[in-house]
């Protein structure tokens, strides 16, 4: 089945620093999503980006489909960005659910 690898597994930042999170997947995905999970909390969809570059607020995602990789750039990090960032791709089609990576745990200190 599909596999999703995320790196790094954890990241420590000082407030104001930028960060780049990586996601590699095993086969062509028609859907690719980035989620944020707060400590002990639920998942919130950040970006849906199957190809190209997308921005929302301080987040930028770039997906190169033929190379089976996506990145999430966080600019000017804030303490409220602390949490786990998950990359997910569709299993076979969007209706059959998502396959998730293990995530990157981000800790931002003042």
């Amino acid at each position: 089945g599909q596999q999703v690898q995320q790196s790094p597994s954890s990241l420590v930042l000082q407030e104001g620093e930028n960060a780049e999170l990586q996601c590699n997947f095993s086969s062509t995905a028609t859907q690719l999503q980035w989620f944020y999970q707060s400590p002990g909390g639920s998942l919130v969809s950040l970006l849906s980006n199957p190809s190209g570059t997308k921005h929302t607020g301080r987040l930028t995602s770039t997906t190169v489909t033929k190379e089976r990789r996506s990145s999430l750039h966080i600019s000017s990090s804030q303490t409220t960005d602390s949490g786990t960032y998950l990359c997910a791709i569709d299993r076979d089609n969007y209706a059959q659910g998502l396959t998730f990576g293990l995530g990157t745990r981000v800790s931002v200190f003042p």
Binding site: Q31, L43, Y94, Q96, G97, L102
Partner: protein, 114 residues
């Protein structure tokens, strides 16, 4: 506001007992999903549904059943709970919006089987 609501938020069950986790969505999404999240394994898909009356097996369906009696409701049933089913369970709803998928997750149910 569209949402996915799970109940209960926390549950303690005894080994061999029956557990039902409930999920309600107001997004009017066709598709609904049950995942479990465990350290070292991440989120894994248990069952999903295309609509009322439909249930499909995900990647780890053994020991679980699902029921979708209506568009809004999707339940996960553990007929004979085991300690290995101790986990955090998330329900989600989803649909395609243009070229992208729109997913909404519930807040999760923490299940402890003793």
């Amino acid at each position: 506001e569209a949402a996915v609501t799970q109940s209960p938020r926390n549950k303690v069950a005894v080994t061999g007992g029956k557990v039902t986790l409930s999920c309600n969505q107001t997004n009017n999404h066709n598709n609904m999903y049950w995942y479990r999240q465990d350290t070292g394994h991440g989120l894994r898909l248990i069952h999903y549904s295309y609509g009322a009356g439909s249930t499909e097996k995900g990647d780890i369906p053994d020991g679980y059943k699902a029921s979708r009696p209506s568009q809004e409701n999707f339940s996960l049933i553990l007929e004979l709970a085991t300690p290995s089913q101790t986990s955090v369970y998330f329900c989600a709803s989803g649909d395609a919006v243009d070229a992208n998928s729109d997913y909404t997750f519930g807040s999760g149910t923490r299940l402890l089987v003793i």
